[in-house]
């Protein structure tokens, strides 16, 4: 089985291989810009700058599959062959959720489906989690187990390369100069993973996982008004935009009198107009009701709808919050 195939490759050999692939693929990988990891287009010039041993990039992985704004009618015909390097497990989990929404139900989103087919996802083992990360306590492992085509664990001068799909196997079929993985290297990988897990757990003393069920039914704004920090929410939508699993979208008609043309744009359930109907009435008129909705959606509704929580613990909603609201603190107060 491809899933279990694991190899060792030196950093130099990997970079040589990837360099050749830039001819056939549009490749993106995390590169440090002013101290932050951003997905950047990879060329032969910057291939050595790709970072494999830190954490998730600033942008969520969803931007490659579900961009902020795109034409959806008519659907886009041609997509480039894409390779995305550097997704951590929180983002892979986000992709799993997006798959459930956009392709696994009765109705398939045409652009998303094609982008998914045309893209190879090369994930990494997160080795330097941020203080805002809370993957483990919310039930997401700190390292990839599935949902990748290839996973790379960065070691000192090379990688443990694990195949996760036929697509990944095909991508490296002309890869030479790799070797089998020794049990010592597997042990090294285990230690790397345990270290990351430990850091995340130490940063998060409160165990959300066991208590998250208590959120069920907390519709009333009175529960949420008690949490002082929520008043700092400026309803900017940063948390929803940065979230790897937020899927809310709106459609806008840009056709003309006798032809149909539509674009699909991200929306945010925190915007006051989000659920407002033509009559002017809204089922969630206050900030507290909208704030509650976001949390209920993440930790309850998504589970009812798709069998999975809508939060992967990536922490972007914390690090990107203009109101400096720490979601973990909110959850802790709410569920205590």
């Amino acid at each position: 089985m491809a899933e279990t195939e694991t190899y060792y490759i030196t950093k130099k050999n990997w970079e040589n291989f990837l360099s050749k692939k830039t001819n056939d693929y549009s490749i993106f990988g995390p590169i440090l810009i002013e101290g932050n990891l951003h997905y950047e287009k990879v060329s032969q010039l910057n291939i050595e700058n790709i970072i494999y041993d830190k954490a998730r990039p600033i942008e969520p992985l969803k931007i490659f599959f579900f961009p902020f704004k795109e034409k959806i009618l008519p659907a886009i015909e041609q997509f480039p062959n894409l390779v995305i390097i550097g997704a951590a497990n929180c983002d892979l989990k986000g992709l799993e959720i997006l798959d459930k929404v956009f392709i696994e139900g009765d109705y398939k989103d045409p652009n998303y489906s094609k982008r998914r087919e045309n893209t190879i996802v090369i994930s990494i083992d997160c080795q330097n989690p941020y203080s805002t990360c809370f993957c483990e306590p919310i039930g997401t492992r700190s390292y990839p187990e599935k949902n990748f085509d290839i996973n790379l664990t960065a070691l000192k001068d090379g990688f443990i390369l694990q195949l996760g799909s036929e697509k990944g196997k095909k991508f490296i079929e002309d890869l030479k100069n790799f070797s089998d993985v020794s049990s010592e290297l597997i042990q090294e990988r285990k230690e790397i993973r345990e270290k990351t897990e430990k850091i995340v757990k130490e940063n998060n003393k409160f165990n959300f996982f066991n208590k998250i069920e208590k959120i069920k039914g907390l519709y009333e704004k009175e529960y949420w008004k008690k949490i002082k920090d929520i008043a700092n929410c400026v309803q900017c939508g940063s948390c929803t935009s940065n979230c790897p699993s937020c899927v809310c979208l709106l459609l806008e008609d840009i056709g003309d009198k006798d032809y149909f043309k539509k674009i699909k744009v991200w929306d945010s359930c925190l915007y006051p107009g989000y659920a407002r109907m033509a009559s002017g009435a809204s089922p969630r008129p206050s900030l507290y009701e909208r704030y509650a909705n976001r949390f209920l959606c993440k930790y309850w509704y998504m589970f009812e709808n798709f069998g999975t929580k809508g939060c992967t613990g990536c922490g972007r909603c914390i690090s990107g919050c203009i109101g400096k609201i720490d979601k973990r603190k909110v959850l802790e107060e709410l569920l205590k």
């Binding site: 956009f102 809310c248 006798d258 929306d267 109907m277």
Partner: protein, 275 residues
Amino acid sequence: MKNIYKPIRCVVEEVIEESPTIKTIRVKPEEEFNFLAGQFIEFTVPGVGEAPFTPSSSPFCKEYVDVTVMKTGRVTEKIHQLKPKDIVGIRGPYGKPYPLQDFKGKEILLVGGGVGLAPLRALFLALIETIKDYKRIIFCCGAKTPQDYIYKNLILGEWQGFCDKFPLSFRITVDKKDDKWKYMEGVVTCTLDNLDIDIKNSVSVVCGPPIMMKFTTLKLLEIGYKENQIYLSMERKMYCGVGHCRHCLIGELFVCKDGPVFTYEQIKDKPNIWA
């Protein structure tokens, strides 16, 4: 791959002025289009936008589809400006229809108010088509004033003739009557007083503005209907219609996929259902 957002092109055949604020648009789809009573469609005015409506024509009618639209916002205003031969689009049908299987052998109470009579017209026509399956129908209709009544020539005219042929009766009211009005006066819940109906063997179907649905539901509970005997047509802001965009959620329930028809039992504990 079929694009889920691609509508069927339709030509506007007729625009019927129902009331000062409500019009029925009759369109002819260029491809075969079928739906069941209670399901909804996304109706596009090209270049303007899309909005969800439950068709008001009979699901058995293959020649055209009617949507009855109240002028409320940006898209509905443009719908009201449509003229015969204009091009529009419809996609769907979406959502769950009225569960007619469960209505068999029962006394069916329909309660509609204002533009909420639109989905009930489709349901009523479907029920009439298979009337032998049901014990009888009581159709309670309400509107603000006589001018605000939609389907006047049907409710006050043609359909009255059905009462001689079928086990059917009407209870018709307006909130405020004029000199010529010969039916009841009072909000639609007054049509539920002194109902001669076997509630145990009955289902009620309610559609109308939120405040009307709320008080009708409370009244139905008061006269003995159980929560699972009350069917409500819910409305929410909606874009995709297919369970992707998440705008229409009532609690964890999608109006577009799990509804738009819900029993009161299904939604009674959800937040702000009467918004």
